[in-house]
Symmetry: C2
Subunit: 351 residues, 2 copies
C-alpha cells in the first residue's frame, strides 16, 4: 500500500510518495528535464525513468563520494547552461545521497534556484536526505562545506528500487531507521523489533511504513528547526562517536550507517553510566541492531585517540564536547557537560 | 550628513549605512573575516579596511567581469575552507558589482550560507546591488546563470570611495539613479534636475541623498517581490533596449549604464508614440541624461536586427515582447502588447 507524506514548510512544502511502484506516478508536466544519475544506477533504473520522460536529457556521473565536488556540480551546470535549460526546467536526481546532494545543489544555484525531484535509490537516502533540504558538495578541507538549503518539489521513494541494493548498504540504511526510533519514538522501536524478519527480507509493505514513519519523524524536527539551530542536532545521535570511528578506521572501511550503529550503542552505554538509561535498554538497542546485521562494537581504538577525534567533530562548541545521549531510550537529549571520566570509562569498556 | 536605511525583509533585514566616511563605522565584532576585493580597488581602499580589521585575510581577484565565474568563486571557497573559516565567519565584499556578486555568492554557499558585508565602491553598486540579494556568477552560455538569493547583513556605502571612480563609470551609475526617478518618483526627478551641478562634482551630501532615495525605491519594490515574480520587472526600464544595444555594439563598447540611458530614452519615445507620455517628457528625460554626460541616442543598428536582438532578451515570454514603458514619465508599466509597427517607427526615428 502506497503512502504520501506532506512535508509542511509553508511555500516550500512538498509531498513524499512512498511505496512499491511509486515511480509509476512520475510526471514532469511537460517541463524540460535533466536526469542526474551515476554509472551504477543508470543501467538499473534509468530506462524506467526515461520511459516516463522520453525527452529528458541525462547527466551520468561516476559513482562515489569522491566525485561529490564543486567541479562535478559545475559539470551539471555546464550541461544545463549549454543546453539552454530555463528557470522553469526540472532536475531529476536519481540515486543515493551523493546524487541527491549534488543534483540538489546544482538545482539550488542554476538561475538562482530551479525545481528538482528526488528519486532516492538507497534506504539511507529515502529516510535521511528526503527531508531537510540540505544539498551540497564536499571540499578537500571538509565534507559538505559548500552547499545550500533547497527543498525538492517532490520525492518519490519507490521501495522496488531497493531490491538491488547491496546487503551492507541496506543494513546501513536500517541503522538510521533505528536511530529515529531510539531518539524519539519508542513505539516505532517496538514495531521494528516485531518486524525484524520482514525488514531482513526487504518486505515492501513494511518498508513503506518504515520510510513513512522516519520521514515523518525527521519532518517534525526539521519543520521546527529548518536551518539547524537547536533541535535538529538530535538527529546526530551516534554521530560524534561514529565520526571518530570512521576516521580512526579510515574512511570507507565502515559505511557511515555502520559507524552510526556502533556510535548509538556507545551513546546508550554512556547514558547508562550517567544513570539516564538502563542496562536493559542498552542491551535492547544492541540486540535490535545485531538482528539487522549491523556491527555494535567499535574496532580497537585507544581511548585517548578516540576522545581527541571526538573533539575534532564540528559539534564541538567552545571546546566542550556536546553529545546527543539517551534519557532514557526513546528520548534523546543534548548534553554539553559529560564528565570526561565517565566518557573514558565507557570507552575503556568498549575497547 | 550620514543616513541609514533599514531594508525590511523579516529575519533577513539589514541596514545600509550611507555617507562620506561611513566606512569608519565598519565593525566585524571580532569575527574572523575574509575581505574579497580586486587588484584595482585593493591599492586604493584595502589599507583603510585593514585598519579597521587588522586580522582579516584577503582574497584579491583580478579586476573585470570576465573573472566573474564559478572557478573564481571556487577560489574564494578554497581560501575559506583551507583557512578553516567557520560558519560564523564573515565575508567583506570590497568592490563594485562584480565583487559584490561573486563574494555574495561564495558567502551564500559556504557552510550553506555565512554572513557578508558589502562595501560598494561604485555608484552603480551602491544604488543597484546594495538591495535585492541577488548574487551570482556568469557562465559562458549567459550572464548570472549561476547564483543565489542571499542578503548581506550590512551595506556600507561610503561616498568618499567614489572620488577615484572613472568619469564614465560614475555617469553610468547616474543613469541607474535617473532610472529610479523615471520609473516611479517624479519628485526625485525634479530634485535631480535641480542638483545637476552637485551631481557632476560628486558632492557627497547630494550623493548621500541620492543613494538613500534610490535604495529606498528599490527596497520597496524588492520587499513586495523578493524572488522576482512581477513588480520587480519595472526595474528593467530601458534594459531590453539597452541589452540589444550592448550586444549590437559588442560587449564592452558601451558601459551597461550608458546603454540603459539610451534604452530609457527609446522606451520614453515609444511610450510617447503610444500616447502614454508627452513629447515634453521625452525631451525632459533626454536632457537630464545629457546634462549628466550620458549618451541618449543608439549607435546605428538596422531596425530588423534591433527587434531580433530585443526578442532574444530573457524577458520575452511566449514570444511576446514584454517591455517596461512609461505611462507617463514617473510611472513605469509592463506592456506585453506593443504593436510591432509602432516599435519599428520608434526605431526608425532613432536610427
Amino acid at each position: 500500500m502506497n503512502r504520501t507524506l506532506h512535508v509542511d514548510l509553508g511555500e516550500r512544502s512538498y509531498p513524499i510518495h512512498i511505496g512499491a511502484g511509486a515511480l509509476n506516478g512520475l510526471d514532469a508536466q511537460n517541463r524540460r528535464c535533466l536526469i542526474v544519475t551515476n554509472d551504477t544506477i543508470a543501467p538499473l533504473y534509468l530506462p524506467r525513468v526515461l520511459e516516463a520522460l522520453p525527452d529528458a536529457a541525462v547527466c551520468e556521473l561516476p559513482d562515489g563520494e569522491s566525485f561529490k565536488t564543486l567541479d562535478t556540480a559545475g559539470r551539471i551546470l555546464d550541461q544545463l547552461a549549454d543546453g539552454g535549460f530555463h528557470r522553469d526546467s526540472l532536475i531529476i536526481a536519481l540515486g543515493g545521497g551523493v546524487i541527491g546532494d549534488i543534483a540538489g545543489f546544482a538545482a539550488s544555484v542554476y538561475h538562482r534556484g530551479i525545481d528538482f525531484i528526488q528519486i532516492p535509490t538507497t534506504l539511507l537516502a529515502m529516510v535521511d536526505s528526503s527531508v531537510g533540504g540540505k544539498t551540497g558538495v564536499n571540499h578537500q578541507a571538509g565534507k559538505n562545506l559548500i552547499g545550500a538549503f533547497h527543498q525538492p518539489v517532490q520525492v518519490i521513494a519507490d521501495l522496488d528500487l531497493l531490491a538491488t541494493l547491496p546487503p551492507r548498504e541496506y543494513a546501513a540504511g536500517l541503522a538510521e531507521v533505528v536511530k529515529y526510533a531510539a531518539l524519539g519514538d519508542l513505539q516505532l522501536l517496538d514495531w521494528l523489533e516485531s518486524r525484524v524478519a520482514e525488514l531482513r527480507s526487504r518486505d515492501t509493505d513494511v518498508l513503506t511504513e518504515v520510510v513513512y514513519r522516519c520521514c515523518l519523524a525527521k519532518a517534525k524536527i526539521v519543520a521546527a528547526d529548518e536551518r539547524e539551530q537547536g533541535q535538529r542536532a538530535l538527529l546526530n545521535l551516534g554521530h560524534t562517536f561514529g565520526h571518530a570511528i570512521e576516521t580512526a578506521s579510515g574512511y570507507g572501511t565502515l559505511l557511515h550507517g555502520e559507524a552510526v550503529a556502533i556510535g548509538m550503542v556507545m551513546a546508550a552505554d554512556l547514558s547508562c553510566r550517567l544513570g539516564w538509561a538502563s542496562a536493559e535498554e542498552v542491551a535492547r538497542l544492541r540486540s535490535l541492531l545485531s538482528a539487522l546485521s549491523l556491527p555494535t562494537s567499535p574496532p580497537p581504538i585507544p581511548p585517548d585517540e578516540f576522545i581527541a577525534l571526538m573533539q575534532r567533530d564540528k559539534k564541538v562548541l567552545n571546546n566542550r564536547l556536546r553529545l546527543v545521549l539517551l534519557r532514557p531510550l526513546g528520548h534523546a537529549v543534548i548534553s554539553a557537560d559529560v564528565p570526561l571520566d565517565t566518557l573514558r570509562e565507557s570507552l575503556d569498556a568498549a575497547a
